[in-house]
Each structure stands twice: as C-alpha cells, then as structure tokens.
C-alpha cells in the first residue's frame, strides 16, 4: 500500500467509530512510514484540539423562552397533560408480581383445599386438612418473601446508579465558584434525574448559587414539571428564599391547582406571600 492510499484513509483511522481491526494494511504501513506518521499525528492533534474547545453554555434566556413557548402551545389546548400517560407507563414489577403471586396462591390453595376436603365433613378438621392448611400457610409466607426479595433487588438496582449520580452531584457542589457548565449539569440533574433523592441533593447543591440567573431560571423551569411532592416543596422553598419575582405566576397557578398535593399547594401559597 503506498503513502497516498494510506493518507486517504487517515481520517478514517482517526475516527473512533472505525474498528481497530479494519484497514490492517494501512495500519501496518503507518507503523513503518515516518512521513505518514507525521501526517497522522498532525491530523490527530488537530482533531483532538477541536474536540477540546470548551463548549459554551447558553444564557438562561434560552431555557426561559423555550418553556414560555411550550406553555403557550399547551395552553392552545393542543395536548393533554403528560401526568396520566407517565403514570400509566411506569411499571413496577412489584405491582405485577404481587397480584400474580396472589392469584397463584389462590389457585394453589383451591387445588390443595379441594384435595384435602373430605366428602362429608362433620365440622372437625381432619389431620390431613390441618397439614394442608399448614402447608398453605408456609406457601403464602414463601410467596410474600419472594415478592419482597424481587422488590428489594429492583430497589437496589435503582439505588446503585443513583448513588453514583449522587456522588457526582456532591463533587460538583463542592466547587467554590462553579462554572456555568457545572451549574448547568446540576440543573440538568434536577430536571431529568429519575431519582427524587438525586434531585433533592441537586437543589441543595444549587442553594449557594441562587443569585446566578442560570440557576434561578433552571429551578423555575423545573418547578411546574416536578411531580414528587417532596421535591416540589423544596423547589418552592428555593424560589421563595431566592425572592425570585418571576416565580409568582407559577406559584399562583400551583396554589389553585386542585390536582396538586395539598401540602404543596399550601407551600406555594406561603411562598407567594413571601414574594
């Protein structure tokens, strides 16, 4: 393979999407050709330098404008709320397993009871019946243990990644003067993380930076979309403590929304009074 052919392939070799097992002939040429190596090195470092350019963070206005636009579209009555579909889509294996286990238990109990019941009973349980009942009781206990074990395993699996994300939040929160990028990441965790625990820690980490416009806008954008009452109350406390006047319309709407938890509505009313 000549140098020109290899140099045509250099960008492919630079691309991380290209498997290491491809272009073996070109790689072999590169390993022994100083000119091609120099060309490859220059292109490689240009690409790495390009990737290393810091990514700028948009102003908070972008987020504010987006949610204003989204809200306007929703108000136009185009779409239903996401709350019910989200609740429908959320599957808890415990909720599936428990009724299935209960049905299995009932069926088993029926089968065992049918076998155990004598043709004529004079009211006194037979020894066999007592033994069957004891077995049923043991089976019921086993199914309960199984359901609990599955639920606990699922809980652990969920907590594993959440703990990792919590660690990242805590590391970011320790920065004295975090960059906009770090604050943006915290706001992102607040908005998107599936764990309420992580979202709560994100709010806590954002408190010292409440005077930053990026933070206030991010928290305010997250407030109407949050569904967990604990997190909702923390967000309400945040905007009240930050004395963010832009929060008033959002709080007023929450205070009047009967679909929202009563404690959350009370918190919204109190925060409104403080603003």
């Amino acid at each position: 393979m000549n140098c020109q052919s290899v140099r045509d392939l250099l960008p492919d070799l630079l691309d991380n999407r290209t498997a290491a097992t491809t272009h073996l002939e070109a790689r072999a040429h590169l390993a022994r050709c100083p000119d091609c190596q120099r060309e490859f090195a220059e292109l490689s470092q240009a690409a790495q330098a390009l990737d290393a350019i810091p990514t700028p963070v948009p102003s908070p206005q972008l987020r504010t404008n987006f949610y204003t636009m989204l809200e306007a579209e929703k108000q136009a009555g185009v779409a239903p709320s996401r709350r019910e579909p989200r609740a429908r889509r959320r599957l808890h294996w415990g909720w599936i397993l428990s009724p299935l286990a209960a049905c299995a238990l009932v069926a088993l109990g029926f089968a065992l009871g049918h076998r155990a019941t004598p043709a004529v009973s004079r009211g006194e349980p037979s020894a066999e019946s007592i033994a069957m009942q004891a077995e049923l009781k043991k089976l019921r206990a086993d199914v309960n243990k199984m359901t609990t074990a599955v639920a606990y395993t699922l809980f652990q699996q969920q907590q594993g990644p959440a703990n990792e994300r919590l660690r990242e939040i805590l590391v970011a929160a320790k920065a004295e003067n975090p960059s906009d990028k770090i604050l943006d990441d915290l706001v992102l965790a607040l908005t998107l993380d599936p764990s309420a625990n992580v979202r709560l820690r994100a709010i806590e980490a954002l408190y010292p930076h409440a005077e930053r416009e990026l933070v206030r806008a991010g928290v305010l954008a997250a407030l109407p979309r949050e569904q967990n009452p604990l997190v909702q109350i923390e967000l309400i406390d945040f905007v009240a403590a930050a004395q963010d006047p832009n929060a008033a319309p959002v709080l007023a709407k929450m205070a009047d929304d009967e679909a929202i938890n009563t404690s959350v509505r009370d918190a919204a009313k109190m925060a409104l009074a403080q603003l």
Binding site: P11, A20, Q45, A52, P56, S59, L62, T191
Partner: protein
C-alpha cells in the same frame, strides 16, 4: 419525540434539557455568534414543536435535530446578508463578548483562540461537516442524511475539512509576531508520531 408527536408536549421539555447544550455549542461554533446561536436554537425547538407530526421513527432524533438546525442556520445566514467570516473567538467562550472579527485577533497566543480563528476561516460548508463529524453520536450514515449526500461524500468532505483546518492553523501560527516569542508552527503538533 414520538411522545411529542402523539400529543405529550411535556416530553419536548426532556428533549430540550438533554440536547439544547450540545446543539447550542454546535451552533456557536458554526455561526461564531452566541446571540445568533441562541436565536437559531430557539427556532429549532419551535420547528420541532410545529412540525412534530412529520417526525418519523426511521432514524435517530439527534440526526433529525441537526437536520433542522442546519436548515435554520442556513435561513439565518440568508437573512443576515454578510457571509459568516472569522469572528472573535471570545464569542465562542462562556462569556459573550461582542468584539470585532477574529481576523484582527489572529496573533493571539492562546491555542484555543487560534483554533477558533482557524475554524472560523473555514468555508461554512466545511465547518459544518467538520463539526457534525466530531459529534460521536452521529454516524456518517446519519451525517450523510443530514447533508443529503452519500456516505462516501460525507466522509471525503469531513476529511478534507480537517486537513484544511490543520493547514489554516499552521499558517496562523507561522504568521504570529516574532517579538512576542512566536510559537513554532509545530508546537501544537510536537508530541511525536502517533500510531493508531
């Protein structure tokens, strides 16, 4: 995005949170202007909302988003009569700074600033394909769909753009003022040969 198409508009909020950062970064590097990048990003999400019924589940959402972004950026360039020339690299950093074109700042010693300048001096199409190709989440098949060309053509354009960027950068380094202790043209590339 399928959820948005089917009427769950709140789902677009999640897409916004996940993607607006990288999208904005792409647009800033493409236009060299923070304010324009924010306007275009806003327009991209407006169009996602307006044309949500046209979304098809036959490719990645990311590719669709950058396809929209490219069109919105092209509209922006048409409306602003001047072609995108080299712009102050400070516009591409976290702190917006509306200083004049980067051509006047070609002598700055900061590597990032020089690379910004080199990037801004690329032809817009070259800059566009180069930035798209550096996003690892986009395959060349997706990039070719965005650019409406073949996969081979997309690769050739990306490769050519990278070479041009390298050449411009080296030229800018060589043009540095001697009294400021100019870096050698190969300072950025002085780490020795790298074999893949």
């Amino acid at each position: 995005m399928l959820a948005v198409r089917d009427g769950e508009l709140d789902a677009l909020g999640e897409l916004f949170e996940r993607h607006h950062g990288p999208l904005f970064g792409f647009l800033v590097k493409l236009t060299g202007n923070r304010s324009a990048a924010e306007d275009i990003a806003q327009t991209v999400f407006q169009r996602m909302l307006k044309y949500r019924h046209t979304y098809r589940d036959d490719g990645s959402f990311t590719a669709w988003m950058y396809h929209l972004a490219r069109r919105c950026a092209a509209d922006h360039f048409r409306k602003s009569s001047a072609a995108p020339h080299a712009t102050d690299p400070a516009d591409l950093s976290d702190h917006a700074d509306e200083t004049p074109h980067a051509a006047h700042h070609a002598t700055t010693r900061d590597d990032h600033a020089l690379l910004h300048t080199a990037l801004a001096q690329l032809d817009r199409d070259a800059r566009e394909v180069l930035l798209l190709s550096r996003f690892q989440e986009l395959s060349f098949a997706e990039i070719s769909g965005i650019l409406e060309c073949s996969v081979g053509a997309a690769k050739v354009r990306a490769h050519r753009a990278l070479r041009e960027l390298r050449d411009i950068y080296l030229r800018l380094l060589a043009q540095g003022p001697k009294d400021q202790g100019t870096k050698g043209p190969n300072d950025l590339f002085s780490r020795g040969p790298v074999v893949p």
